[in-house]
């Protein structure tokens, strides 16, 4: 197992170097001079220009610039945002809990509905439930989530007035930030109505972000269950006289969940892509919205740093999923 982890980790090093190369050249590919871009429309004197070129190291050869950039990355220095003048690392991790909270809620929503739906669909194969659940899953899987968000806003915020349209909590509430997770912080604050407000702000974004994972998980659970239900050990369990519920819930589901867990892990990239759209529509102050805003503000250091940090998170999660999978499946562990 140790060798397996080492092998996976060693694969990550060239990927990380590549990711930072992509982010580095991304800024260099932009049309226009980076210093003039920073100076904006006010213009800049030739002396100041030369000084800035030197300060940012733009007068060095490209490979040297990259080595400096990469060394900075290794020291945790991801650059400074142009618009807020704050270090990108700090800015990213101030906003990250918001995205994490939303993503966790979306995954819980997707698993809580998707796994039972998939199991029932597999057990009652070809029943009306199976057909309608799988048809719904396919619709969910094909859903343009930015439109789905607008529809939910029209119905639940506009027509029914049940849920707020944007933000994480009503502006009425002020309390210290403890964990960065609004649900926990509002609960800890003890203010009446704060938790309810935070929860009601979460509902629509959670549904929107969770829709595609829900569809994927339901389909995956169903096909994994169908495969497992045909195995000999299930027949044995039935023959032993165990209750059908026990056979399904304990013997079958435990084995069927292995591929499903991998699927959930691999949804991280999808979740991040979804977070970009969901956060933009619901004005959710997370990193998805921050990235889009940075792109529109032409805050290129922020975009660059954000790209590297998000890629690092995706890589880390994929590594954990790989390791979990290797842990439960020796076949993968010993593969070269």
């Amino acid at each position: 197992m140790f060798g397996f982890i080492l092998r996976r980790l060693s694969l990550l090093i060239p990927t990380f170097i590549g990711v930072s190369l992509v982010a580095f050249f991304f800024i260099r590919m932009l049309p226009g001079d980076p210093v003039l871009l920073l100076a904006g429309e006010r213009g800049i004197s030739p002396e100041r220009y030369a000084e800035l070129m030197h300060r940012f190291g733009f007068d060095l050869p490209l490979w040297q610039q990259f080595i400096y950039y990469f060394t900075d990355l290794l020291h945790g220095d991801f650059g400074t945002s142009i618009s807020t003048k704050k270090p990108i690392f700090t800015e990213f991790f101030t906003l990250f809990p918001a995205t994490l909270e939303l993503s966790i809620c979306a995954v819980i929503f997707a698993v809580a509905l998707g796994v039972p739906a998939g199991v029932i669909a597999a057990v009652k194969r070809n029943s009306w439930f199976d057909h309608s659940a799988m048809a719904t899953a396919l619709v969910g899987y094909s859903m343009p989530i930015f439109w789905w968000a607008l529809l939910l806003i029209i119905v639940f915020s506009g027509m029914l007035g049940w849920t707020p349209v944007s933000g994480r909590i009503s502006l009425m509430f002020f309390f210290p930030k403890v964990t960065g997770f609004m649900l926990i912080d509002s609960f800890l604050s003890g203010k009446a109505g704060a938790f309810q407000s935070a929860a009601s702000h979460l509902i629509l974004p959670t549904i929107v972000l969770g829709t595609i994972p829900l569809a994927v998980i339901a389909r995956q659970t169903r096909s994994a269950m169908l495969e497992v239900l045909g195995e000999d050990y299930i027949r044995t369990a039935k023959a032993k006289g165990l209750s059908p519920f026990r056979v399904v819930a304990v013997h079958a589901l435990r084995n069927a969940l292995i591929p499903v867990i991998t699927t959930i892990g691999l949804q991280v990239g999808t979740l991040m892509a979804g977070a970009i759209l969901t956060e933009t529509i619901f004005s959710w102050p997370g990193i998805g919205k921050w990235m889009v805003d940075s792109i529109f503000r032409r805050d290129y250091p922020a975009v660059q740093g954000g790209l590297v940090l998000i890629a690092l998170i995706v890589m880390a999660v994929n590594l954990v999923v790989d390791m979990l999978y290797g842990l439960v499946n020796p076949k993968i562990r010993h593969q070269r």
Partner: protein, 294 residues
């Protein structure tokens, strides 16, 4: 599709159709898709109005409004343009995006994956590490930043989405080549003097097509969704192009006043993507022997 139909014996094509037509959803998807293609190709015939024509006396009219110029079946948008006509012309963009993105990423991915799988060694290592790098970024985010660098617009959006979609083809082709390259028929072809390119693209490739076709269907719908998302974020096709995602972005501010300008473009995206995914499911069942009759 055509590459396979040409190289497959008629018996196998018949067998494919038998499996495919067993799946009613897949057939429904196919019918819907063909209908969409016809509508897109003959858009000027089906559209009641010019998609860019503004009727200044009929701004934000609800569906089924009888205007001075004729019936606005699905209403008009904020500039008085007929929604139905814009949606019909929009089908052209979505299908065009799908075709271009799938062809570019499929051809590029197959060639790269073929080299990786056939030559192995350092060629394979370098190629796969580059693909890992692309896959480390969430696809929409990478496409979004690429478009930011290249400049917003439909062409750049398609380039970005094709780059992002490519690694999947590379991986599939490489895996298929790995399992095929030591088979007897490949050795036989090599012994009889076939060069590496002949071996790669004439001998091996036709036997790796099944997973590639399924992936092509999946990324066709993915490309349409991503292009619409880019359009929605203002980074794809630019107004006044009647692209569905761009139309949604323009409609956002009228969300509480005019439900139809928001509802119909999204519905068009959903129906198109759904039709392609239905077809994709049918293709997978029919082409993937492992999943057959599961």
């Amino acid at each position: 599709m055509t590459a396979v139909s040409a190289s497959v014996r008629p018996g196998r094509l018949k067998e494919f159709w038998r499996y495919f037509s067993e799946n009613h959803g897949a057939v429904a998807g196919l019918v819907l898709f063909v209908a969409l293609v016809i509508v897109a190709l003959a858009a000027p015939v089906f559209a009641p109005f010019n998609p860019d024509q503004q009727f200044r006396d009929a701004l934000l009219m609800p569906p089924l409004t009888e205007g001075s110029e004729g019936l606005f079946l699905l209403g008009t948008d904020a500039l008085g343009r007929d929604m139905l006509s814009r949606l019909i012309f929009g089908a052209r963009f979505s299908l065009f995006i799908g075709v271009v993105v799938v062809s570019v990423s499929l051809i590029g991915g197959v060639i790269i994956g073929m080299f990786a799988g056939f030559f192995r060694g350092w060629v394979d290592t370098v190629i796969m590490r580059i693909m890992d790098i692309i896959l480390a970024f969430p696809s929409l985010l990478l496409a979004l930043t690429l478009v930011a660098v290249l400049g917003p617009g439909l062409t750049n959006a398609m380039i970005a989405i094709a780059i992002v979609a490519q690694p999947h083809y590379v991986r599939l082709t490489r895996a298929a080549v790995f399992s095929e390259r030591n088979r007897d028929y490949v050795t036989a072809a090599r012994v009889s003097g076939a060069g590496p390119f002949w071996l790669m693209f004439v001998t091996i490739l036709p036997n790796c097509m099944a997973p590639l076709i399924v992936q092509a269907a999946l990324s066709f719908s993915g490309a349409i969704l991503d292009a619409a998302a880019l359009g929605f974020l203002g980074m794809g096709a630019q107004p006044p192009t009647p692209e569905w995602g761009t139309m949604l972005a323009e409609a956002r501010e009228f969300i509480t006043r005019a439900w139809w300008v928001v509802t119909f473009p999204g519905l068009a995206i959903l129906i198109t993507v759904l039709a392609i995914n239905l077809m994709g499911d049918g293709l997978r069942d029919a082409l993937d022997p492992k999943l057959k009759r599961s």
